[in-house]
Amino acid sequence: MPKIIVEIMPKQDLLDPQGKAVANALTRMGNKDISGVRIGKRIELHFDREVTDKDLEEAKKQAKEFLSNDVIEDVVAVTVEN
């Protein structure tokens, strides 16, 4: 299925409580070499036809304005998988 994939991460300098909790659990399970975990989001936008440049442009706009909040998150990638 053709899709646009939007990847979003919490900003580097912000505390990511979810990542911290998972990192603590991994350490408890014996993964001593994992020094940190950060958890972001992958959002897939599905299409019943091929993705166009216009779709990608609109997806990038929505990624910035709606799918992410630039105060707390960064859009790290918007990619097409046709």
Partner: protein, 231 residues
């Protein structure tokens, strides 16, 4: 005076907010998220809860609802708007207030009677408080940590736009102990704690005088009514 209260899918405290408006002497008007008709109300409350299940980000989907779009438009023209808890998150996601709200630093949901200091009594929702008055209203929140860029924090402090600050305990890691904010004009106020749960003796926080006698939240709604009469 008619004060609208918006209900989104997943809103919890709309009835409490309506009751608070009534007890303050106003007429509550229920508003529906999907309806862009604000029914000519004189002010709007965005109540607490978990609009759209907190999907995507708290308040993010509600910020795009038809009713919210109208609120944004009218707020820019001076309509008094109060956002409580999830309503505060909606105001931030709507860019009516700057910054963002993230999961509590300690990762726990917190529910307590919270002491606050009223830092700015010049807004539409705080004009009946004394400057620096200390009040207690309930707080119940999992994602109430206020964050903003250094420049934004500096601007908020310099322009006296921090309306409420947490006292004695910062419950969620908010920068500068910020519990509530206003916009440049002072008609839009957002805060994490819940004034609508401290409006009637017998149902509010405990005070030194008697258990459950705290009604510090009532003045929020009375302030709005006063601001409307004077406008």
């Amino acid at each position: 005076m008619r004060i609208g209260v918006i209900t989104y899918p997943g809103t919890l405290d709309d009835r409490d907010a309506q009751r608070a408006v009534r007890l303050a002497g106003g007429t509550p008007v229920p508003l529906w998220h999907a309806d862009d008709d604000l029914k000519k109300v004189d002010a709007v409350v965005l109540p607490g809860g978990f609009s759209y299940g907190d999907y995507l980000r708290c308040g993010a989907i509600a910020a795009k609802a038809p009713a919210t779009k109208e609120v944004i438009k009218k707020a820019q023209q001076g309509l008094p708007v109060l956002g409580i808890c999830n309503g505060f998150q909606v105001l931030v996601e709507s860019h009516l207030l700057p910054g963002g709200l993230i999961r509590n630093e300690h990762q726990h949901f917190i529910c307590r009677d919270q002491k606050l200091r009223v830092e700015n009594n010049q807004t539409a929702w705080t004009n009946l408080f004394e400057k620096d008055e200390e009040i207690i209203i309930p707080l119940k929140i999992g994602e109430g940590g206020y964050i903003a860029t250094e420049d934004t924090i500096k601007m908020l402090e310099e322009e006296n736009r921090v309306v409420f600050r947490y006292l004695e305990l910062n419950p969620n890691g908010s920068m500068n102990d910020i519990a509530g904010l206003t916009n440049e004009r002072g008609n839009v106020v957002g805060l994490m704690p819940h004034p609508e749960h401290a409006v009637e003796p017998g149902f509010g926080p405990d005070t030194a005088v008697a258990t459950r006698s705290g009604i510090d939240g009532l003045k929020f709604f009375q302030s709005a009514l006063k601001a409307l009469v004077n406008s």
